[in-house]
Structure formats: structure tokens, C-alpha cells
């Protein structure tokens, strides 16, 4: 009895010591295994989150490089002989260079004019606290765009401005200008008043202080609002579908028309979709920080 207990105690002590010894080595192993497991779980989590958001872009690109026969094959083929045929179609047969030019002119024009009108207005709202004015302009964020479209269509038809850059640029400014003001008012508010006061003490006029002292400081704000105003215009479909004609058709309309031709040319459609999306995605990736700031502006400030 006694010996048994002693033996047991001795055994326990032995295992305890052995355990302690082992534990020191093992903790490291267990810890690193734990970390590895966590790391793998983390990577898996990231993939689960990211893949659904990337997949449609990937699929667009893949299918734009497939022949029609490969596109309609089920189950879908991941290995295939890529072809640039559809891109040739898009540019030669459907004259996309022309539509790209139209979209560029309209997007650049409406962004530039929004800046010219928006910067002084934003400065004035910020410095003279013209809240009501700001409110009126922000109504454009709420009113459904199509409410404006019927009167515009009638007005522009009478003035023979349908199918001109003028009507398109003006209509796209409906999004660009309020957005410009929305981003720039808080920006000007954040610049210290002392800046222009100092310039005015030195003999500059207020208008001079604005153009020579403040404007050079607005870089980040102007960049944010210009990029997004350009993107909104480039993507605009509803206004363009009514106000463009044969001469001024922009990219989204050209792509949409692609669809309505009798039989769907999926490869060509995907190539056209890639052509219209890639410039925007490149801009977004380069100017990421500014775009996030712009898109979430207003929500974070509350």
C-alpha cells in the first residue's frame, strides 16, 4: 500500500518534472503552431472576403479574351487559347476610339467647369457661413436626376443642343458641381483665416489672397473632388442616354448599344466592358487615398 503510494508519488513527480521540461520546449512549438493556424485562418478569411468582390472583374477580363465557343462551354474552361479578336472588333468595327474621345471631352469639360464654378462658391460658403446656399446645392444629392431630365430634354431640344458636348457637359455638372462644393467647403473651413488675413495686411485684396494664397493650398481637396467628378461623368448613363446622339455618344451608351444588337456577342461585350472600366480602375488604384476620402466624405463627419 505504502510502496504503491510512494511509487505513485514518485511517478507523479517524475511526470511533473518531465512535463515541465517538455513544456518549455513545447510551448514554443505550440505557440508557433497556434500562430501558424491563426495566420492561415486570417489568410482564408481575407480570401473569403476579397474573392467575391474581385471575381466579376476577373471574369470580365477572362471572357474578353475567349472565343465565343469557349465562352459558351459548360463547365467553364479555365485553360483556353486567348485571343485579342474581340478587342480588334471593339476598336475597328465599333469605333470605340471615337466614344473614348467623347467621354474624355465630356468628363474633362464638366470637371473643369465644376472647378471654376465650385471653388469660389465653396470658399464663399466656408468664409461667410452661407448655410442656406450650401443646403440648396446639396438638394441635388437628393433629387432623383431624372426629375431634371424631362425639362432639360425639352429645353435642349428647343435650343438644338441635344447631341452636342454643351448639353452633356452641363448635365454632368449636376453631379460634379455639388460634389465639388460638398468636398471643398470643409476643406476651406479647415484652412486658418490668418492665411488670407496676413496676405491682406500685406496689401493683397481678398480675391487676390484667394487666388494666390489659398488656391495653391487646395491641392488635395481639388484632386479628390476632380477625380471623383471625372469618374461620375465617365460612368454617367442616364443623362447621356437621353442627351447624346450619333455624334456625341459616350462610352456607357456605346457599350449598352452593343447589347441591343440582335445576337449577344459576349466576347465583344466583355472587351468593351474592359475598355470602359480599365481607365477608371487605374485612376482609382493610383489615387486610392483621395478616392476613399471623397466617397466616404460626409458620412464620417456626420
Amino acid at each position: 500500500m505504502f510502496t504503491m503510494r510512494a511509487n505513485k508519488a514518485w511517478g507523479n513527480a517524475k511526470t511533473a518534472a518531465a512535463e515541465r521540461c517538455a513544456r518549455e520546449g513545447a510551448t514554443r512549438k505550440v505557440r508557433s503552431r497556434d500562430r501558424l493556424r491563426k495566420e492561415i485562418a486570417h489568410v482564408l478569411l481575407l480570401l473569403v472576403i476579397i474573392i467575391p468582390f474581385v471575381f466579376p472583374f476577373l471574369w470580365m477580363a477572362v471572357c474578353s479574351l475567349k472565343r465565343q465557343a469557349d465562352i459558351i462551354r459548360m463547365p467553364p474552361s479555365w485553360v483556353f487559347r486567348p485571343t485579342l479578336l474581340h478587342y480588334q472588333e471593339v476598336f475597328r468595327q465599333y469605333q470605340f476610339t471615337h466614344f473614348i474621345w467623347n467621354s474624355l471631352v465630356v468628363a474633362a469639360g464638366s470637371t473643369f467647369l465644376s472647378l471654376v464654378l465650385g471653388l469660389p462658391a465653396a470658399y464663399s460658403i466656408a468664409r461667410f457661413r452661407q448655410r442656406k446656399l450650401a443646403l440648396v446645392i446639396l438638394v441635388a444629392r437628393i433629387v432623383p436626376g431624372i426629375t431634371f431630365l424631362i425639362p432639360w430634354f425639352i429645353l435642349f431640344s428647343r435650343l438644338r443642343l441635344v447631341d452636342t458636348y454643351t448639353s452633356l457637359i452641363l448635365s454632368h455638372m449636376l453631379v460634379g458641381l455639388p460634389f465639388m462644393i460638398w468636398v471643398m467647403v470643409p476643406f476651406f473651413e479647415s484652412l486658418p483665416k490668418e492665411l488670407e488675413e496676413a496676405a491682406m495686411v500685406d496689401g493683397s485684396t481678398r480675391a487676390g489672397a484667394f487666388s494666390r494664397v489659398l488656391l495653391p493650398l487646395t491641392g488635395p481637396g481639388v484632386l479628390t473632388s476632380s477625380i471623383l467628378s471625372f469618374v461620375f461623368s465617365w460612368n454617367n448613363f442616364m443623362f447621356a442616354v437621353v442627351l447624346t446622339g450619333a455624334r456625341t455618344r459616350t462610352l456607357p451608351i456605346a457599350v449598352f448599344n452593343f447589347l441591343s444588337y440582335s445576337e449577344i456577342n459576349w466576347g465583344g461585350l466583355m472587351a468593351a466592358a474592359v475598355v470602359i472600366t480599365v481607365p477608371i480602375l487605374v485612376i482609382a488604384l493610383i489615387a486610392q487615398r483621395y478616392i476613399v476620402a471623397g466617397l466616404t466624405a460626409g458620412a464620417v463627419k456626420g
Binding site: L117, I146, T147, V231
Partner: protein, 293 residues
């Protein structure tokens, strides 16, 4: 202060003037004109000039137009379903990323893409993905052992399929807003929760989410206002069909105005639509107020 000349003294009027002229010509005047048109009977395709009919357009829409009441219902169905799904998903993703810390920048970059991509292009790709016979959506379902769906081809499934595209496109916005708000949260409440021995789930439930409430409500408000007005995706993918099964207020007013050229009735519809969006915006901003006070 009056050192400058006339320009400086009148700067507060001169500077906003061009923008104001634009707002008047391109916004105020069109809304007033739409309001006036809404009380007339006018088909642009006929030669007859507009004739005044009072509230008849409103009455016929509200009382006897099934397409209108269907569109109202579908507009709210689309908006509410999309905003709820986007909020649940967007907040969960933001919280999951917040705890792990790394990989956030990668996700932020990826999440930008659906939001800025051209809606028409997005519509085209989803059209191919949803294609009942050659689309990958049904292929993925078959991999999971599920039966194929008709997606946009079926009146029952078209609107939910469009909601799914909206969720894909705009969940990222909620995630980005919540992530930005998360980095701005105070540390103290979390330390207190740690000291009190709260479990991670309790901390999220009782500390993080209440603190995030203003940001979440703001994000939902922005989303709701835009979702009510969704046009590009629906028009490019289904044009309201099959039948009228995905026709929302925006699509119906577009069809009335620019395919049937019934300018009077379309204008009345637009004024109602405007009132609905404005009303929703006001109700949603009330929801924000108690938190800010």
C-alpha cells in the same frame, strides 16, 4: 478691411454667383417646370399642345395605375433589402478586419473597385454571370449541389438578383465608412470592458456597436437615398423586366417620359418620387439626431 475695391466688398455675392446661376438654370427651373408639367396632359409624340388637367395625373397614378403601385412597392423592397444586407455584411466585414489588423489595406484597395467601376460595365458582366445556361452563377450552384436558378429570366427572381448586384457593388462603402469610424473610436471604453472581463462578443455587442451607431446610421442613410434612385444597373440589366417584375419608380418614370413620351404623367410620377426620396431622407436624418445630441 475695405482696402479692396468693389470686388472685395461684394465677394460674398460675386463668388457664389456663377454656381447659383447654374443651380437656378439647371436645377430650380427644371423642378418648377416638372411641377407645372405634372398638371398638364401632354404627349410629346402628338402635335397637340399641353392642356391643363389639374391633379388628374396624380389621381390616375395613385388610384388606378397598377404599374405605379407595383413600382412603389418594388422600389422599397429593393432599397430595404439591399440596405439591410449591405449593412449586416459591411459592418461584419469591417469588424472582422478590425480585429485582425493586417490585410486591411489590401481589402480597402479591392473594395474601391466595385464602387467606382462603370455601372453599365458592371451590369454587362453580371448579365453574363447570371446567364441561365452559360453563366458561372449556376455553375457555382451546381458545384454546391444546388439546383440552377433562372436569375434575371424569371419574374420572381429578377429583383432579388438585382439586389445581389447592388450588395456586391455597395457593401464596400459601408465597410469603408465603418473602418474609418473604427480607427477614430476612443480607447477608454475598450479598456474598461477588458478590465470588467467582457468576452470579445460582449465587447462588440455592448461597446463597439453602440459607439459605431452614428457612422452606421450615416452610411445607411447615404445608401438608402441612392438605392431608392437606382437606375443604371436595373436599366442595363433588365429594363424593368421580365414583364414589370423589376420596374422601380426610376425605371417607370424613365419609360413614361422617354419611351411613351407622356410628359405630363411622367412629371407627376417624378414629383411623387421626389417627395418619397425627400421624405425618406428626412425620416432617416431624424434617426441620426438623438445620437448626435
Amino acid at each position: 478691411m475695405l482696402r479692396g475695391g468693389w470686388l472685395d466688398r461684394n465677394l460674398r455675392y460675386v463668388f457664389p454667383l456663377p454656381a447659383l446661376v447654374f443651380v437656378f438654370v439647371m436645377m430650380v427651373f427644371p423642378i418648377a417646370y416638372t411641377l407645372r408639367l405634372s398638371t398638364t396632359e401632354w404627349s410629346m409624340s402628338s402635335m397637340a399642345p399641353p392642356s391643363w388637367v389639374g391633379a388628374a395625373n396624380y389621381a390616375s397614378l395613385i388610384l388606378s395605375d397598377d404599374r405605379f403601385s407595383g413600382a412603389v412597392w418594388r422600389t422599397f423592397y429593393f432599397t430595404i433589402l439591399a440596405v439591410i444586407l449591405e449593412t449586416l455584411l459591411g459592418v461584419s466585414i469591417a469588424l472582422a478586419l478590425n480585429r485582425e489588423g493586417r490585410g486591411r489595406n489590401l481589402v480597402k484597395t479591392v473594395f474601391l473597385l466595385p464602387m467606382v467601376a462603370t455601372p453599365v460595365a458592371v451590369g454587362m458582366v453580371w448579365l453574363l454571370i447570371y446567364e441561365p445556361t452559360i453563366g458561372v452563377a449556376n455553375y457555382f450552384l451546381s458545384l454546391l449541389g444546388l439546383p440552377p436558378l433562372h436569375w434575371l429570366a424569371s419574374p420572381r427572381q429578377a429583383l432579388p438578383s438585382l439586389v445581389l448586384v447592388d450588395v456586391w457593388q455597395w457593401t464596400p462603402m459601408i465597410t469603408l465608412i465603418v473602418l474609418a469610424a473604427l480607427t477614430a473610436l476612443p480607447r477608454d471604453p475598450f479598456e474598461a470592458a477588458l478590465v470588467d472581463g467582457a468576452t470579445p462578443w460582449q465587447t462588440v455587442r455592448h461597446v463597439t456597436l453602440p459607439l459605431l451607431r452614428p457612422a452606421i446610421v450615416a452610411a445607411m442613410t447615404l445608401r438608402a437615398i441612392d438605392a431608392l434612385k437606382t437606375f443604371d444597373i436595373i436599366y442595363t440589366m433588365t429594363q424593368g423586366g421580365p414583364g414589370f417584375s423589376s420596374e422601380t419608380l426610376n425605371i417607370y418614370s424613365f419609360v413614361l417620359g422617354f419611351q411613351y413620351f407622356q410628359m405630363g404623367k411622367a412629371s407627376a410620377l417624378l414629383m411623387i418620387f421626389f417627395a418619397i426620396v425627400l421624405g425618406s431622407a428626412i425620416v432617416l436624418s431624424w434617426a441620426r439626431r438623438p445620437v448626435e445630441a
